[in-house]
């Protein structure tokens, strides 16, 4: 069934993409690699440094601390946004104008420029005149400018507000793709809402959840504009994530070699994590596992019956 034609002329179709990506990614990356091994005082005066910069980066306490913050941030973000996104997607209306309105409203935070998000939350979190700050101040002292925990809390809340809609939209699309026959079959078998979710929806959502997980991981690991505008990395260094640090080293300290080495390590870390996610999540689809499409209600029903029967 899954007989893709072997055809090396397909390379011609891929060529434009390869050219574009070479131009926008490979050449710049080679420049970065070139910088990472030499200290440039002026265009004519350079000193070969070998792997010294990499060693500096790997032992720099500020960078290690920022890396840990990134890890904690991404973990928290995924732990909140994925379940919340699924819940919102399940609650979204499916039909009529309400569905259209819901889609537009849910998607709005995604198209707000990142600096606007930062600006909005910066005012919103002010303890004297911001709604969030004032509201929390009723219960306990809240000061985003001086209390690290408050700044962190606001940063997480801001990201949840900003990006959960992406997860919700992807999951919503995944849910819509499930044929009605599956639900009918589950209903005939008297499956509870929980087991419908566990045995019908979740397996079908696997793919979109993988995409959501990967996108959210990558983007939360690279987050820059929002925390930069919200707190500038402060108070102290409490919200200083890696990209803020990288921009400081590259643009403000103008330490090109160190910044380049940092960039490469940063890039590599994201790639490794993403590759692990990708591999783990697609384990049982390999190699070239076929996806069955256009299934009849009967076979869907059998599937569900088997799954639910198996769980009893």
């Amino acid at each position: 069934m899954n007989l893709k034609k072997k055809n090396n002329r397909a390379w011609f179709l891929v060529l434009p993409v390869v050219v574009v990506v070479a131009f926008t990614a490979i050449i710049p990356l080679m420049t970065v690699a070139n910088y990472s091994v030499q200290d440039i005082f002026s265009p004519t005066n350079r000193l070969y440094m070998g792997l010294d910069f990499f060693r500096q980066i790997a032992t720099d306490p500020a960078i290690i601390a920022a890396f840990q913050r990134n890890l904690v941030f991404s973990t928290q973000i995924l732990a909140i946004e994925i379940p919340l996104g699924i819940i919102i997607a399940k609650l979204m209306p499916r039909h009529g104008w309400k569905a259209a309105a819901a889609l537009v409203i849910v998607a709005i935070p995604l198209i707000i420029p990142w600096n606007v998000v930062g600006t909005t939350w910066r005012v919103l979190a002010r303890p004297d005149v911001g709604l969030l700050g004032v509201a929390i101040n009723q219960f306990r002292e809240f000061d985003i400018g001086n209390t690290p925990a408050d700044a962190w809390f606001t940063m997480v809340l801001m990201d949840v507000w900003h990006w959960t809609p992406l997860v919700a939209l992807l999951v919503y699309a995944g849910l819509r793709a499930i044929p009605d026959a599956y639900y009918q079959a589950a209903s005939i078998d008297g499956a509870s809402a929980m087991s419908v979710f566990r045995f019908v929806e979740l397996p079908k959502l696997r793919r979109v959840l993988m995409i959501a997980l990967l996108l959210r991981f990558m983007d939360s690991f690279m987050i820059y504009a929002e925390p930069y505008i919200l707190t500038g990395g402060g108070p102290g260094t409490s919200t200083e994530v890696m990209s803020i640090l990288l921009v400081v080293i590259a643009v403000i300290q103008f330490d090109l070699g160190k910044a380049a080495a940092f960039s490469l390590i940063y890039f590599l870390v994201i790639q490794i994590f993403s590759f692990i996610f990708f591999t783990v999540l697609t384990l049982d689809e390999r190699p070239g596992a076929t996806k069955k499409r256009n299934r009849t209600a009967e076979s869907a029903r059998d599937d569900v019956a088997r799954a639910i029967g198996g769980s009893r």
């Binding site: 397909a10 209306p93 507000w161």
Partner: protein, 282 residues
Amino acid sequence: MTTQAISITRIAKVGSYFDWRSWVFWLIMAVWSIPLLWLMSMSVRYNEDILSVFEIIPSRISFRAYAEFFNDPLWYGALINSLSYTTMNMVLSVAVALPAAYAFSRFTFSGDKHLFFWLLTNRMAPAAVFLLPFFQMYQALGLFDTNYAVALAHMLFNVPLAVWILEGFMSGVPRQLDEMAEIDGYSFGRFFITVFIPMIRAGIGVTAFFAFMFSWVELLIARTLTGPNAMPLAVQMATTSSATGLDWALLSAAGVIAIIPGVIVIWFVRNYIAKGFALGRV
């Protein structure tokens, strides 16, 4: 037969219950829209009020900020800049990604899997990594401080994403369609443009939306590659501060205006997002 009858009555009953799901959803959305409403309210308040008085409903309002936005060429020019590079990027990304996605969905060729994953890795590159080389490269090409530079640079993350999304949609179109077209004597180009592309227009809509979105909201690269001539809206907003401090009302008004094009794009693809995703694997 009996079980079916029972389940149908059960379904019918569920429909007549109080629709708590819908209520919970709209409640969540109400909470979700608070920051946005806050932004809108800031844009019509007086600067001296914004940072001194806490009020949920503004006691006095003015549309000065909006008037200023559309009278200052710096501001509306920035809006036009943003719109032009975003549109260019969207069109280019989709155009380049279409044939590639077709190749990935229809053929196997040497190194296809590696190429596909490698493309995705570019989506994982932190923008900060590319700042310096981009700056030097576009300056050497004489494209620095033009909309073309930003449009091209944003293809870095949009092309891989476009290939990824489109490939999913294309895999949802049966391969028999291609074969039948071939038997009917369609040339590849004619088939692709007159038959295949209309088939996946939903996918193209969704892809265009994502390309637009990621290009529209990006700040770091856009800031690095532009000077005063091609300054995007986001950068104009980030740099706006005067001796008297930030003009919060104007900043908020610009923020509200920056949301509008996105809302229009979402409105166009709303049905595609809903139905469209179902076609592909996404």
